[in-house]
Symmetry: C2
Subunit: 153 residues, 2 copies
DNA sequence: ATAAAGTTTCCCATCATGGGAAGGTCAAGG
DNA sequence: CCTTGACCTTCCCATGATGGGAAACTTTAT
């Protein structure tokens, strides 16, 4: 099986397959006489595993751990569960951060009449000298704890 | 004002201030005889604006547009509102994607007894030959439409 | 035999951020 | 006056996961 076929079969692009090999996430593929990489069912299986884990938001490094657990027949399921739940915590943090942004922006947008006139509470808020205000009407105030907003696409 | 003071006053690191200057997000700072950059209140004000916008998840390029609107006294507030709401849409998409991951992972984790035994539905799911199954008990099934999970920290 | 499609490696780009080195500048204290 | 430490400058490198593209080679189909 060529890399292209393995890519189609696993849903991982050929580029990424080579990358995963380079960083050691997957073992070095066998080579044919021509130098072409040669893949079997087991490799595709492994790649599919990786792709699924990526879809669930696991970082490549974490996937390495998952793969290790996967190939360890004596693993304790608690170890896997712990990884999963810890990852869920990460995801929740990110989601909450995004929710905070959404709440603030919607609050501001709701205050903005959004017509031809130039005065706009959104810009005013961004330009405020002091601390941010957020949506004036009561509900749950969003408070970013501190530090930079880390990643965003 | 030195760059360090501007950094403290604005909440943008000195590194990033130089970077923003380099990419043209902020105008080239005035220089003193020594070569040191020199900042005034207006510069700090602008940097603070940028930082706030970053905190709301705007990309640097979008912030450039926001700054342009900000400095355009004749802007229509509708333009700003449109940017804000379009960004909210982006954020919502990301959040929903994360929510899907959380739902799937929690469903799997709930099925995993999480003890010493090696059998683990989480790994089984990742290793499944066919399509993912997700949390078996009824509720809203999470369906990722297709394509890669794009960014994750 | 030739053309098309697939593969190889290598380099570059992204996006926002930080680390660190080598060297210049400034302010305070002796 | 000189030293010391804190600050500044530029330049290069790294991150994480992904893609783009070039130049050269192999395989496959016509």
């Amino acid at each position: 099986m060529n890399i292209g076929d393995a890519a189609k079969a696993s849903g991982v692009s050929a580029k990424m397959i080579r990358y995963y090999e380079e960083i050691g996430l997957v073992p070095k593929a066998a080579r044919r006489g021509s130098g072409y990489r040669d893949y079997g069912e087991a490799d595709v299986h492994r790649l599919r595993f990786i792709r699924r884990a990526r879809d669930l938001g696991f970082a490549v490094e974490e996937i390495g751990e998952l793969l290790a657990l996967w190939s360890d027949r004596t693993r304790a399921s608690s170890a896997v569960k712990a990884m999963a739940l810890s990852h869920v915590e990460d995801l929740r943090r990110k989601r909450d951060e995004i929710d905070g942004m959404i709440a603030t922006l919607e609050g501001l947008a709701a205050c903005c009449h959004g017509d031809d006139r130039p005065d706009c509470p959104i810009l005013e808020e961004l330009a405020t000298e002091t601390a941010p205000v957020g949506p004036p009407p009561g509900p749950p105030r969003f408070g970013r704890p501190g530090g930079r907003a880390p990643q965003r696409s």
